[in-house]
Amino acid sequence: MSIFVDDDTRVVVQGITGGEGKFHAGQMIEYGTNVVAGAVPGKGGQEVAGVPVYDTVDEAVEEEDADASVVFVPPAFAGDAIFEALDTDLDLAVAITEGIPTQDMAKVNKRLSEVDTRLLGPNCPGIITPGEAKLGILPGNIFADGNVGLVSRSGTLTYQVVDNLTERGIGQTTAIGIGGDPIIGTSFIDALEAFEADSETDAVVMCGEIGGEDEEQAARFIGEHMDTPVAGFIAGRTAPPGKRMGHAGAIVSGSGTGTAQSKIDALNDAGVPVGDTPEEVADHVEDFL
């Protein structure tokens, strides 16, 4: 079992004619994902990575029966591309693009509340159900099919923790990158709720980082609503207050919330062990299984 994507998922790649779109469409197909179409305005009729390209997402959905989209569109046009995906009534849109203006995302966020489409990201590595489907840029070879769910705000940290799990034979049901931006679609809580409901997910790993209060809210959700055990990791313990550490969201205001310690404390209070290293996270997961 898995959450959000499986081998029935039919994917349209928005921005498939660009460098990243083309490369990763190829990688997704190689992984076994049902990439059925591309959508790029003005490029309808072409073929990229062996799939037909349409001018609009609407057309791609109509002709190829797509139900999910991956957005590889440059930041200036990505907000618009996400709107197009939402207006086409897809089940899932995954926005890989980094650097979308925050006010664009605020408008997207508003529309999200009015549609049934689930948005992952932006500024995320995507989602993978090992052996079935990969939507995004995650390196497929490090994942293995199994019974642990993973949700993370950071792409590369996801890879690191998955690597530690797979190394010792612990596979994953689904791994999800939710993105590091201040405004994102799917939250930790959305993903945790889905993992809790998934009968095949026996344990969950949640990777957070400094900035914002999403981890604290997720901790409360875990404490109140989850029976599936969760292990945590928080990046940015050594980050100095007030400095922006890469991600738009990864900044500690210095006012007590949003720090690594406040997140670790909240998780511990909810019964979630937090590893000091990615290796220790894998230890905790091993203890659960």
């Binding site: 203006p101 590369t156 690191q160 890469g246």
Partner: protein, 381 residues
């Protein structure tokens, strides 16, 4: 990206927000010319990108020419929280009876812009927010519809602003929201809005931060971007376009992706070392960028050892390896020991082409960090 007070005030004034008469000066003579035109009292205000300028001695009120000269001499060239003051705003003093705070920012939790008004203006509003959050009235704005004028009035009344100036304050707030939207601001605030004895409202300060991701559609603001770096390394990082933060330790850290780089920092600390920097080469980095990253870290005199941690997703291991090789080709001997850990997309291809004559390679993150910490210890011993 932060705008200077004088830049923000020009934008405010153009939009019709009342601001005091002012001139920008970069020398004491210019400052004196400015006060001669403006009259007394006049505020001499350091134009640097730091908060709390007043408390730090960066804002002084001159009541005569002698004081103006003295303050201009003191403030121009002074070091304010690590930044050198090279210009001052000379501004007509406002005779006020009351001070308010008004601001617009993005509430990331709600995913919506929020208006904020407090009658406890003129002081550190962050302290008010923490100690007495109820003293700040808030109103969320639907980003799709934009601000309805009634919302600005509502939050101003809620804050308890005096009735005879409430509509004028609401009007300033409405204009601020328009500016927030039109300029892709991430934060825009006035602290304080001064209320004079004649019941006029004046924006006595102006804070405007712009979303850097939106500068592509804000060419005029992009031109105002003024790099303010604490040292040459940060300047170099700015030119190279890296996310870089200098820290106090001696283990140089390069990686891809904020979360993984932060984790690498945390592990250096965990294994007893001290991180010298945070350097994220970003997603999809090509060889040239990798070369620049190594150049950056090598040119930090505090760095005794380097750990290069790449987990490729969108970044490809062979590109990274090429960049490392190109950087190494410049040296007969590497200035500081480098440990490389390469995993993920095209990592195997990368490992095959990586020139390991001059560097050390570790397979796991933990091993790479431990080795880099040990290397740094050996240098300092």
């Amino acid at each position: 990206m932060k705008l200077h007070e004088h830049q923000a005030k020009t934008i405010f004034a153009d939009a019709g927000i009342p601001v005091p008469d002012s001139r920008l000066a970069t020398t004491v003579d210019e400052a004196l010319d400015a006060v001669d035109e403006i009259g007394y009292p006049a505020a001499i205000k350091a134009q640097v990108h730091v908060g709390g300028r007043g408390k730090a001695g960066g804002i002084k009120i001159a009541t005569d020419r002698e004081e103006a000269e003295q303050y201009a001499e003191e403030i121009l060239g002074m070091d304010l929280k690590g930044y050198t003051v090279d210009s001052v705003l000379v501004e007509a003093g406002v005779d006020f009876v009351d001070e308010l705070y008004v601001g617009v920012t993005m509430d990331r939790g709600a995913g919506e812009p929020v208006l904020m008004v407090s009658t406890e203006g003129g002081v550190n509003i962050e302290e008010v927010a923490e100690e007495n959050p109820d003293a700040i009235a808030r109103e969320h704005v639907d980003p799709a519809f934009g601000l309805h004028p009634y919302q600005a009035r509502k939050v101003v009344y809620e804050a308890g602003v005096d009735a005879d100036v409430a509509l004028d304050v609401a009007s300033i707030l409405s204009t601020l929201y328009d500016l927030y939207e039109a300029n892709d601001a991430s934060e825009i605030e006035v602290n304080p809005v001064m209320i004079t004895g004649d019941r006029d409202v004046v924006a006595a300060d102006a804070v405007m931060n712009i979303d850097e991701d939106a500068l592509f559609r804000q060419p005029d603001l992009a031109e105002m971007a003024e790099a303010s770096y604490e040292d040459d390394l940060e300047r170099k990082a700015g030119e190279y376009g890296f996310d870089y933060v200098r820290l106090s330790g001696n283990v140089g850290i390069i990686g891809n992706g904020a979360g993984l780089v932060m984790t690498t920092l945390d592990l250096v600390d965990y294994y007893g070392g001290k991180p010298a920097n945070f350097l994220d080469i970003g997603g999809g980095a090509k060889a040239e960028r990798v070369t620049k990253a190594l150049d950056m870290v090598f040119s930090d005199p505090n760095v005794d050892s380097v750990v290069f941690n790449i987990f490729g997703g969108i970044t490809r291991g062979d590109e990274v390896a090429k960049g490392i090789n190109e950087a190494l080709a410049e040296f007969d001997e590497i200035p500081k020991p480098v440990v490389v850990r390469l995993a993920g997309t095209n990592a195997e291809e990368g490992m095959e082409i990586l020139n390991t004559d001059l560097i050390e390679v570790e397979e796991t993150l933990e091993a790479a960090v431990q080795r880099a910490v040990k290397n740094a210890e050996e240098v300092t011993q």
